[in-house]
Amino acid sequence: MGCAKVSRCLAVVVAAFCLVSTVQAPNAAAADTQAIDFNRDIRPLLSDRCFACHGPDEEDRQAGLRLDDFSAATAELDSGLTAIVPGKVNASELLARITSDDPDVVMPPPEVGKPITPDEAGLLADWIAAGAGYRGHWAFQRIERPAVPAVADAAWPLTPIDRFILARLEQEGLHPNAEADQTTLARRLALDLTGLPPEPTAVAAFVANDSSEAYGRYVDQLLASPHYGERMAIEWLDAARYADSHGYQTDSSRSNWPWRDWVINAFNRNLSFDQFTVEQLAGDMLPEPTREQIVATGFNRNHRINGEGGIIAEEWRVETVIDRVETTGQTWLGLTVGCARCHDHKYDPISQREFYELFAIFNNVPETGTIMGQATQRSGGNADPIRLLPTSAQAKKLARLEQVVVDAKAALATEEKNLKSLAEAWAAEVREALRNAGEAWQPFEPLELTSAGGASFRRSEDGSWLVEGVNPPQDSYTVESLIPAGQFSGLRLELLPVAGLAGGGFGRGGNGNVVVTKIEAEIDPPGDGKAIPVVFKRAEATYQQKNWEAAKLLSGKKGDGWAIDGNRADINKPRTIALLPAQPVEVPENSHLVVTVRQESKFIGHTIARFRLAYSTEEPSLLGVNGLRLPKDVRAAILAAVENRTPKQQKEVEAFYRGNVAGPIRQAEAARDAAQKSLAAFRKTVPSAMVMQEGPRREAFVLERGEYDKRGEPVAPGLPAFLPALPEKEPVHRLSLANWIVSRDNPLTARVWVNRIWERLFGVGLVKTSENLGNQAAYPSHPELLDWLAAEFMETGWDVKRFIKLLVTSRVYRQAATVTPEALTNDPENRLLARASRIRLPAEVVRDTALASSGLLVPTIGGPSVRPWMPDGVWDETSKYGNLRNYKPAKNDDRYRRSMYTVWKRTAGPPTMLMFDAPNRETCTVKRSRTNTPLQALALLNETTFIEAAHGLAKRMLAEGGDQPADRIAYGFQVSMGRQPNPLEQQTLTDGFSADLARFTQHAQAAEQLATAGIVPRPDGVPLAEYAAYTLAANVILNLDEFIMRE
C-alpha cells in the first residue's frame, strides 16, 4: 500500500501517512464501572491515533517515540522529555501534548482530523496514574481456555456458550428472548447449515417430535446432508478468490472447478480444519501426496493472472506471489500482511523484511506470471502448473497414448543409431548425382496440352509454350506427359514474358499480371490403375507479389493465389515457382504426369502468356526453385571422400541428413511427433486443476516501495517474529508454514475461524472486524467466550461439524428474533445477543431458495460450472475480449443448478449475484456487505429465473396444494416460508389471487404472456388465467421480506 515517506519531528504537521480508523470497541467508555483494561480501553486509542507515526514502522517513526511497547514508551527521548512516566501524569509529555491548545504542539496534529476527546484523555491520564501497564495485544496472546462463568439463572443455559452470553446479559440487567417457534428453527437451521429451505415433510417431522433429542437429531441430519458442504464452501470461495476466468483485460476462462469440488467434499467429510489448512497450503509437499491433496493446493492458484499484451511478466509474477501472501494472511491469520509490502506495518509488528520472508515461501512456483505465451496453457484454459484429473477410462487412454510416445521415442533412438551409415549412403547418392552433373530440374515434353478456355499452344525453341488464340477471362491449362519410372519429387513452373503484351508481358489480358490460383499434379499409371494425386507441401518462388505469396497456392482458400506483379515492366526478375511434396512419390513404369494450372482469379485476363514446366527426382527437402539447396560446405563435405573428411565435415553431413533428408530417421521422428501431438490433444480434453508446486528456488528480495524491479536486500523464507517460532532447525517452507498456522500455539488461526463462523450464525462476529484481528481490531464483545470457543475448537481436534453443532444447539442460537424498540435502541447491532438476529440470505442462497421452493432446483453437486439464465451476451457490452463472450443460457438442467456453480467471470460477475452483495472474486474477500437496494427488488420481481421460480411454485400449489385456492396459496406460503400463513397473510394473498384471476380472465392475452414467459412448461389442463394468477401469487410470496431472510 503506497504510503508516502514522511520524516518530520513530533511537532511538525504530519499530513500524509497511512490513515487510521476509528474502531468502536464496545467497552471503550466503560471505565467508570470497571478497572481500565489496557487491551480494551487503551490500546485501541493508541493504535488508532498514535501508532501511524509512533508505532512499529521504524522508518517513519517520528521523534524516536514508539508507543506500542512499554520500555520504548517510557524511555527518555532525544529531546530529554519522556512520553510516559508511569504513575506520574504531570511528568508525562504524552498528556501534555494531547491536551495542548496550541495547534503546533497538540497531538495528533489537527490536520490528521483525529483529535483525542477529553474523555479519552482522561482515560489515558487514569491509566498512566495507575502505572501505565502494558499488555500484549489480546489477539497475539496464546489461547488459554477461560473458566466458564457462573450465572444466576442456572436453568437457562444448555451449553457453556449460553453461560458466557447470559453472564453478560445479567450484568447488564437484561433477559434473553424466549425460544423461537419450531417452524422458525427448522428453517433457520436448514438455511444456515445447507443454504436450502427445509422440505415441508422435514419441518412437519421436526415439529411433531417433542422428544429432547429431536433438535439435535435434526441438526445431525442437516450436517450429514451433502448440501452442508456446499453452504460451507460459499464464504471459502470468496476468501480463495475462486472464479472461472483469469481476470484482468482478456479475462478468458479457466476451469479450476475440481478445487471447488474438493472444498465441498472436504466440508462434507468433515476434514479437520487443521488438515483442511495444511492440504490447501501445502498438500503437494506432504509425503506421497494423494491426488486430492494436490488438488487442494488450488487455493493459492485461484488468483488472477494477467494476459494483457505488452505486460512485463516479472511484474505480474510478483503480484501473484504477493496476492498469495496477502490472501493467506487475510484468510487464516486475519491480518493485513499486505500493508508491509512497501514499508513496515503501521499498526502490527510486521516489518517489510518479514513480509518478503513470507513472500519467499510462495515464490518458487514454476509459473511465468502471465498467461501470454504460455505454451503449456491447456485443459480448460488452466495455466501451469496443473494436475490432470482423468476419469479411469481417460486414465487408460492416457496411459496408452503415453506408451505410444515412449515406443515412438525408442524407435527413433534405434534409427538414430544408424545415422552414420544412412547419412553415408545418402551422401554417396548425392555425390553420384553431383558428379553426373544432372540438372535438378528436368524439362519434359508434353504429349498433350489443353486449355479449358479454348486457347491454343505453340512450342518455342527453348522448350517454352506460347499461348495463343481465344483469350478467355479465366483459364486452366492441362499438360500431360510421359515420365520415367522412379520417383517424382517436385514440379517447377516458369512464367515468361511475351513482347507486345501489356505491363511486363506475362499476362494474356488485363494489365500483364498473372494470378495462378491452383496447381494440381497426378501420376497416372498405365491400365486401369487409379491416378495418384501429388500433395504439395511447400511452395517456393523467385518472385511473389505482396499478399499473393507462393504459399497461398497451398492454402486451399478460395480466392487465394500466386501473383507476380506481372503488370510492372520495371521488375526484371524471373517469375518461377516450385511446388514440392513432403515425400517423393513413387512412379510406376509407363506412367503419365498430368499437371493442371488453374488461373481462375476474379481478375479478368490474368492468364499465362508463355510458360515452361520441369520436374525433379531429387530429395524434395533439398530442392529449391533454383535447384539443389545444398549448403556450400555440406556440398564440399559430400564431395570429399569419407576418409578425407574432417570430423567437422562428417558432422555436417550427418546433421544435414538428419535434419533434411527423408528416410528411416525422419519417418521415426514423424511418428514420434504424431504420437506426441495426439497425446497433447487428448490431454486437453481431460479435466485438470491448477495446483501449487515447488520449482527451483527463486531468489527473493526486499522490494523497495513494493516495486518488482526495485530489489533491495536478499531474504530467505521466514516467519514474523511476533508470533511463535517454528521448532528449532525446522526449515521454513510452505509445509512448515501451514503446520505453524494450525499449531496449538498460534494465537490467531482458531480465533479468526471461530469468529467467522460466529459471524455467519449470529450476524456479527464476537470481534466485529472479522477481517482484521491485528492491533486495529475491534475489541471482542465477549473476549472470554472467543477464547473459550477457540480453545474448544482446537482441543476437540479442529472438528468443524462438532463445533457448528455446539453453536447451533446453544440456547443463544435458539432464541426468537423479536425485538422491542427499547432493546433495539440499547443494542441495535445485537452484540449482547438477547435475541436472534435476522440475517439477509447471501446472494447464492437467495436464488437457491427460490429454486428449491419452486421445485426447479437440480441438486447435483459439483462438476464444471454451468450457464443458468442471464441475459444473452450479458458481458458483451463492456468487453469483446476473451472466450466468455456471447453468453447463452442453458435450456437443460444446468439452468437450475445451485448458484455456486454459475460460471463466474471475474471482471464482470453474474449480475444478480453482485446485486445481492457477492464479491467479484478479483481479490480475497472475507466479509460481504449486506445491503438493501431497489436493484435487488427489480431482480426478485422480474429476473427470468425468479419468474420461472414463480411458475414452478404455482405448479406446486396446483399439484400438491389441494383443490381450493386458499389451500393452494397456503401451501405455496408453507413451502417457501416453512410456516403456515397467518390470517392477514392468507387473506391478503387469497384476495389478491381472486382479483388477479378476474383480471387475467378478462385479459386472456396478458394471461398467456405471463404463463409463457421463460421455459417452464405449462401445467396440463389448467386454464391460462388461473395459472397466471397463481404465478403472480407465487411472485408475491417470493418477494416477501421474510423469504430472503433467515429469521
Binding site: 500524509a16 487510521v20 466503560a30 481476470g247 483485460q249 392477514l984 391478503t988 387475467f1000 403472480l1032 408475491v1036
Partner: protein, 486 residues
C-alpha cells in the same frame, strides 16, 4: 455510560433504516445511500455527515472517459518541430531509460512519427487543437487543457483501474462510489452514479471495461455505479414480466407491503420497512428510467446538434445526450466510457473513426448544457488512462504509424463548473515525452483530488475504515491543482 455508546444509537438506527442492514463500520463521511435523496437524510446528524466540507463549485459531473488512451500529440499537444526528426530514433536523453511495454521494448528502433494532422489556435485564449476535433476546438475558451497529466501504469487494466480507484489492483472503491458515499443522491428516483458505455469505431473491439471501474470496492455495495445497458432493459430487470401491467404490479407491491408491514410489527425489525421502501423506489425507477431514455421530447435542433448517431442506442452521441438528461434530473455523477482509443498501429485511420464518434457530440453537450444554464454547475472531464509515444510502434510510413502506451505525459481536458476556461496547464518537451513544467505536473491522484474538491470534498477527509485503516480515493497522495480553478 452504557457500553453500547447511546450517542451513536440514533445515528445507527437511521442508518439501518436507510441502508437496511449492517454495512461496514462508521466512517467520517455521510452514510448517505445511493438512492436516498438529500432531503431524506435530514435525520443524519450533521456532525457525522459533514459533507460537503465546503460549498461545492460543481453540483454534478459528466465524465467522458476515453478508454484506450487517445494520442495527445495528434489531438491537443502540437509538436510541429518533430517533422525535421521524422524517422530518427528517439534520443536516449529523452527516453531516459524509462520502461516500455513489451509490445515495443523489443523494437530495434524508435522512429519519431510526427503527427499527420495540422494544428491551429482557437478562441480568444488561442488554445491549440488539431484539425481532428473542430467541435471541441469551438469551445477553446471553455476548456482547461491539462497537458501535464502523468501516471505510473503502462498497461490498460492497471492504468484505468488506477484512474478510477486510485490503485492499480482490484479491490478499491471507484471515484463515483466515493462521491455517492460522501454526498448521497439528489434524485429520489435515480441512482447517484450512472455509467454509460459505448464501443468506438476506431478499434471496434477495444478496450474491455471491467465492473470494478464503477464498483464499490469495500464501500457498502449500494454505492457502486449502475450501468445502463444498451440492449434489453436499460437497467437490468427493469421491465415487469410480460403480461404484468403497471396496475397489476402496483397491486402486487401493495400486497407485499401489507404483509411486510404486519411482519415488521410482529418482529419489531425496522429493516422490514426499509425493504418495502426499496420496492417503492424500484417501482418509481420503472417509470423514470424509460422516460429518461426516450428522447422524443427533445427538440429537433438539439437532436441534430449531437449528430446522427444520437439516434443509435449505445453510441457515444446517444450517451452524451442521455448524460445531459440524467444530469439535469440530479444524477450527481454520470460517467460515459467510450472505447476504441488504443492505436498501436494504423493510428491515422483509427483516430479519425474515434473523433467521428466523439467530437461533434462532445461539442454539442457543452453547448446544450450552456444553453440550459447547467454548464456553470456541471463539471465536464474528457480524457483517457495514459498517453501515447511520439515514436512509431511498427513501421513508420508517409501516411501511417502507430503509437505505444506512454505514462509520462498526456492530456486531459476539463470544462464547466469551477475550472478556468481557456487555460492550458503544463507543457511537455519537444517529443511530448516528458513534462517540462515541474510545478505544473498533474498526477492522477491530483486530478482526483481536484475533482473531489470541486464537488466540495476535501479528499483527505473522505475516508472509510477497512481492515484497520482509513482508506481514501487518493491513498496517501494527491494535491488539489488550485492553479486551474476559477
Amino acid at each position: 455510560m452504557h457500553p453500547l455508546q447511546p450517542l451513536h444509537v440514533q445515528d445507527q438506527l437511521n442508518r439501518r433504516v436507510f441502508l437496511g442492514g449492517a454495512g461496514g463500520g462508521l466512517g467520517f463521511a455521510a452514510l448517505a445511500s445511493l438512492f436516498q435523496p438529500a432531503s431524506a437524510r435530514a435525520g443524519t446528524p450533521a456532525a457525522v455527515a459533514g459533507f460537503p466540507n465546503f460549498p461545492p463549485k460543481a453540483k454534478r459531473i459528466i465524465y467522458l472517459f476515453q478508454s484506450g488512451a487517445p494520442s495527445q500529440m495528434d489531438l491537443f499537444d502540437p509538436k510541429p518541430q518533430m517533422e525535421k526528426y521524422r524517422g530518427e530514433d528517439l534520443p536516449d536523453s529523452i527516453r531516459k531509460g524509462q520502461r516500455l511495454t513489451t509490445m515495443t521494448s523489443g523494437q530495434k528502433s524508435f522512429p519519431v512519427a510526427p503527427s499527420m494532422f495540422s494544428f491551429a489556435q482557437h478562441g480568444d485564449s488561442g488554445m491549440w487543437f488539431s484539425e481532428l476535433v473542430p467541435n471541441m476546438a469551438r469551445h477553446a475558451d471553455r476548456w482547461c487543457m491539462i497537458r501535464s497529466m502523468h501516471t505510473e501504469q503502462i498497461n490498460h487494466d492497471p492504468a484505468i483501474t488506477f484512474f478510477q480507484t486510485g490503485h492499480q489492483l482490484a479491490g478499491r472503491p471507484s471515484i463515483g462510489a466515493w462521491l455517492g458515499y460522501g454526498l448521497g443522491s439528489e434524485n429520489a428516483d435515480l441512482p447517484a452514479y450512472i455509467v454509460l458505455t459505448s464501443f468506438g469505431s476506431g478499434r471496434p473491439d477495444d478496450q474491455p471495461l471491467y465492473d470494478r471501474l464503477w464498483g464499490a470496492g469495500f464501500l457498502p455495495n449500494e454505492h457502486q455505479g449502475v450501468r445502463f445497458r444498451n440492449t434489453g432493459d436499460p437497467v437490468l430487470y427493469l421491465a415487469d414480466p410480460p403480461g404484468v401491467s403497471r396496475d397489476l404490479r402496483r397491486a402486487t407491491l401493495d400486497r407485499i407491503a401489507t404483509i411486510n408491514a404486519s411482519r415488521g410489527a410482529a418482529l419489531g425489525d425496522p429493516d422490514i420497512s426499509a425493504r418495502t421502501s426499496q420496492y417503492e423506489m424500484a417501482f418509481r425507477m420503472q417509470a423514470s428510467v424509460p422516460e429518461i431514455i426516450d428522447f422524443s421530447d427533445e427538440p429537433k435542433h438539439v437532436l441534430e446538434s449531437y449528430g446522427p448517431d444520437v439516434h443509435r442506442h449505445g453510441s457515444y452521441a446517444f450517451n452524451c445526450l442521455l448524460a445531459r438528461r440524467l444530469s439535469e434530473r440530479g444524477v450527481r455523477f454520470v460517467q460515459c466510457f467510450h472505447m476504441g482509443w488504443d492505436h498501436h498501429g494504423g493510428l491515422p485511420r483509427a483516430i479519425k473513426g474515434q473523433v467521428k464518434d466523439t467530437d461533434q457530440a462532445t461539442g454539442a453537450l457543452l453547448d446544450d448544457l450552456d444553453q440550459r444554464g447547467l454548464l456553470d454547475e456541471t463539471l465536464i472531464v474528457w480524457g483517457g488512462e495514459f498517453g501515447r509515444t511520439i515514436y512509431s510502434q511498427g513501421k513508420l510510413t508517409e501516411n501511417n504509424y502507430g503509437r505505444d502506451h506512454h505514462p509520462r505525459c498526456f492530456t486531459t481536458l476539463m470544462a464547466g463548473a469551477g475550472v478556468q476556461g481557456g487555460l492550458t496547464w503544463g507543457a511537455t518537451d519537444d517529443y511530448s515525452y516528458n513534462i517540462v513544467t515541474p510545478d505544473q505536473k498533474v498526477h492522477v491522484h491530483d486530478l482526483n483530488a481536484t475533482i473531489l474538491h470541486l464537488m466540495g470534498i476535501d479528499h483527505l477527509r473522505l475516508t472509510y475504515p477497512y481492515q484497520g485503516r482509513d482508506f481514501r480515493l487518493t491513498d496517501v497522495h494527491g494535491e488539489v491543482v488550485h492553479g486551474i480553478l476559477s
